[in-house]
Amino acid sequence: MSVVVDGLTKDFGAFRAVDDVSFGVPSGQVTGFVGVNGSGKTTTMRVMLGLLAPTAGSTTFDGRTYSDLPHPRRSVGAVVDRIGAHPGHSARRHLTMVATSAGLSLGRVDAALDEVGLLDVADRPIGRYSMGMTQRCALAVALLGEPETLILDEPANGLDPAGIRWLRDRMRAWADEGRAVMVSSHQLAELAVVVDRLVVLRDGGVVFVGSVDALQSGPGSLEDAVFDLLVDDSSVPVATPTQNSTPAVTS
């Protein structure tokens, strides 16, 4: 399953968070999604998944929008920016509810928990999980439907070194199995090890789409090449409405 994002734009009131973004997430590859804080990565991913209505543009999964997929959880697994569970519910209950709501086999619940290493603590309330445990739980939810496409928003956040290595190996394996993997991250060096392609956002707009090789043509690391795309001065960059190079247009 390949994903095509076409002319995606998202306004929050007068502020344009995502500006005419187009890129593809081909199957069999890991596509990295980078940009400074506030550059629009999470917003783009939430619009792709139908969690936010786009102002303009579309996202298709093998030609269908997310809402037209016959079994969305079997087609697309997602880690979004919040766990989306009642803090009093255990991971097992949370996954059971997701499986129920998606019509997935309940047998997948323990399998997914086992895969992310949460089986031993599966009955503890999520509200008492550590950051990394919460993140593993989010990954387990993404894996529940054994999806063909994975859209992961900063999935490595809070993971311990073993977890980061596990995730890196899994992303590689998923892609090698023919799945499409999209992953946002700020860990450029870590990302450089696993991604085949990169989409670089700046102020809500795409400044680079293409293979890692194309970006890394000159001397220096991939990290340096991406860093040069993200920033053009030495100050710590954070995208803000006033910094937005494209004035917001609401028409």
Binding site: R46, L49, G50, L51, L52, A53, Y66, S67, L69, P72, R73, V76, A78, V80, R82, I83, G84, A85, H86, P87, G88, H89, R93, T96, M97, V98, T100, S101, A102, G103, V141
Partner: protein, 245 residues
């Protein structure tokens, strides 16, 4: 949508808040019924009007808590981001809101039934302690309880609709309670030609409340159904417009 109903029902029974609110509604129903009965002399207890007034107090508690339960449930889905996971499983906003509204109605029915059981139990004990005969199967007792079950189901759905539209939990709960307990009672007294059409008053009509300013039970029921539809549609349209946030 049936999967949505299952998962929302599962969520309702596995969330402590829902049980705490149910217990609170039963305590309130029992408390206000008892307080009302205590205000009467023993020789007044057999009067139809006495029972009517006492039953009315208990049903108001039930309806109020049913509304609050709906508001808390719907706004919790935003507060904890549960709405993300619901939409990822069922991308149709209409199906998600419809499932939530149906479960809200089911929870309302449970509030109505438990409120009724509490009311009958309190009446039994109170009248036997006072050694006054009471017919617990008379229409004065049964009509308000049946009406409360139905009105409570609609209030549960209104809570879901309003909560889905307002999103912010404190604002939604405060707004719902203010609408029911602060704005409407004086309007019913001061401006009954308007006040009787509001949701709170329509709910009271459904419980066969004897207040002259109110609509009839059936008419009140129709008005409350209209308010319910309005609230649920408002929640659905707001979810479509804003997404999961």
């Amino acid at each position: 949508m049936s999967r949505g109903v299952r998962v929302d029902a599962l969520n309702a029974i596995s969330t402590p808040t829902a049980w705490i609110l149910l217990a609170a509604s039963m305590v309130m129903a029992a408390g206000s019924l008892t307080a009302n009965l205590l205000a009467f002399e023993v020789d007044e207890l057999t009067a139809r009007a006495t029972l009517q007034q006492a039953m009315h107090a208990s049903t108001v508690a039930t309806l109020t808590f049913s509304l609050v339960a709906g508001l808390v449930s719907a706004t919790s889905d935003y507060r904890f981001g549960r709405i993300d996971q619901l939409l990822l499983s069922e991308p149709s906003h209409r199906a998600v809101v419809a499932a939530k509204a149906l479960v809200g109605a089911g929870v309302g029915v449970i509030y109505g039934l438990f409120g009724g059981i509490v009311a009958v139990a309190v009446l039994r004990v109170f009248y036997s302690v006072r050694d006054v005969p009471v017919d617990l199967t008379s229409t004065v007792v049964i009509e308000p309880l049946v009406g409360a079950v139905l009105a409570s189901a609609l209030f549960g759905m209104i809570g879901i609709g309003m909560g889905t539209a307002i999103r912010n939990q404190p604002a939604a709960v405060a707004g719902g309670l203010a609408m029911l307990l602060v704005v409407q009672p004086p309007m019913l007294i001061g401006l009954p030609e308007v006040g009787r059409w509001l949701p709170g008053a329509a709910g009271l009509s459904m419980t066969f409340n004897p207040d002259d300013a109110l609509l009839g039970a059936l008419q009140g029921g129709c008005v409350l159904v209209a308010w319910t539809a309005l609230a649920v549609i408002a929640g659905w349209r707001r979810l479509v417009a804003l997404g999961a946030g």
